[in-house]
């Protein structure tokens, strides 16, 4: 039985796709057979961030509509053999996704994989609600910024009421806070909400803090999940997140501004 993780946020552009690619790669590199699914039908981007955009033949909607089987649509990652990508379609409309169709796909994948990572689109419409419907765990990606925090709280409401677990009166979805684009320097001068602030407001379990990092853009430019950039702060922070999720005790890093002048000039 696979464990299904939804990477969600409500607000767009906060780092869901970056996170999905990173943690899927991280789980796979730890030896867990993992598939990452792009639910952003119409705006697919996961394939680009994963660097497999030229290998897309069939997509999620093809499988739902019976035009391809799941094996034909899965793309095996070239860097890690435990990792597969199920891309979203670029052209079709969101209505092509159905609860039954997604349920059937997840059921099939569940036999072959240990983790199913669902990259949710922004908003609270069909793609987003379907991505979270079948989830066991939710990574709520939040930026330390008012509208992102508010939208994360809205997602908590939906996770608690509109999921399969909620409908069946099962144990609720486990919610984890992932604070992304954190800048300790700006927190220090009072320009940015701190980890403690966000945790206090949302009262969620903190899975990790990912620092603002220029490496994120350059690695997505290259189609390399940031977790593979082991020299970058963000890559290391994602590695910590995966380890923590798997139950290891890892202290939080990158929360305090203790870089020296040189680090500040050359780090990132």
């Amino acid at each position: 039985m696979a464990r299904t993780i939804v990477v969600t946020s409500g607000k767009g552009g906060v780092g869901k796709t970056t996170t999905s690619a990173a943690i899927a790669m991280g789980l796979a590199r730890k030896g867990h057979r993992t598939v990452v699914i792009d639910f952003d039908v119409g705006l697919r981007n996961l394939d680009l961030v994963m660097g497999c955009e030229r290998r897309v033949v069939y997509d999620l909607v093809n499988v739902i509509q019976g035009e391809a089987n799941i094996r034909q649509a899965l793309i095996r990652d070239k860097r890690c053999e435990e990792l597969y990508v199920l891309p979203a379609s670029q052209t079709r409309d969101k209505e092509a996704l159905s609860k039954e169709g997604i349920g059937a796909i997840l059921e099939q994948l569940s036999g072959d994989f240990e983790y199913i990572v669902c990259d949710s689109p922004a908003g609270i419409e069909k793609g987003a609600t379907l991505a979270m419907y079948y989830a066991d765990d939710a990574f709520v990606v939040t930026n330390p910024e008012v509208s992102s925090v508010r939208d994360s709280d809205r997602m908590l409401g939906i996770l608690a009421s509109k999921s399969r677990r909620a409908e069946n009166n099962e144990e609720p979805i486990k919610e984890y806070l992932l604070l992304n684009r954190y800048s300790p320097k700006r927190v220090k001068v009072g320009e940015m909400l701190s980890v403690e602030d966000v945790q206090e407001i949302l009262s969620m379990h903190l899975l990790g803090v990912i620092p603002e990092s220029r490496s994120v853009l350059s690695s997505s430019n290259a189609g390399v999940p940031i977790i593979l950039d082991e020299d970058s702060n963000a890559g290391q922070a994602y590695a910590d997140v995966v380890a923590r999720y798997l139950g290891e005790e890892v202290p939080h890093r990158f929360i305090n501004d203790k870089k020296g002048l040189l680090g500040r000039l050359f780090g990132g």
Partner: protein, 92 residues
């Protein structure tokens, strides 16, 4: 306090302001989310009744349910217009 200090101080506060605003807003939105589904209906019907007698705006009535450990308090808030009395007399 120099101008520079003023900007520094207000910038230093902006995260605190954000936190306060979010705490209030989110508490409000959570209460709304967790309120029973009949509340909006109750609110509309109450509004209709009040409007028979007083001209009030659509948003003049709020109904909320406060929950504490061992009791629930249904709070009904009606804001009457300044000239509510006059309108009332007029209608008769």
């Amino acid at each position: 306090m120099g101008l520079l200090d003023y900007f520094r101080a207000s910038r230093r506060n902006s995260a605190a302001v954000a936190k306060d605003r979010l705490q209030i807003l989110i508490a409000h939105e959570r209460a709304e989310r967790n309120s029973p589904s009949y509340l909006p209906l109750l609110q509309n019907e109450l509004l209709a009744v009040v409007r028979k007698y007083v001209h009030v705006d659509h948003d003049a009535i709020s109904v909320s349910l406060e929950q504490s450990d061992n009791q629930e308090i249904l709070e009904l808030n009606i804001v009457l217009p300044e000239n509510g009395q006059a309108e009332h007399a007029h209608q008769r």
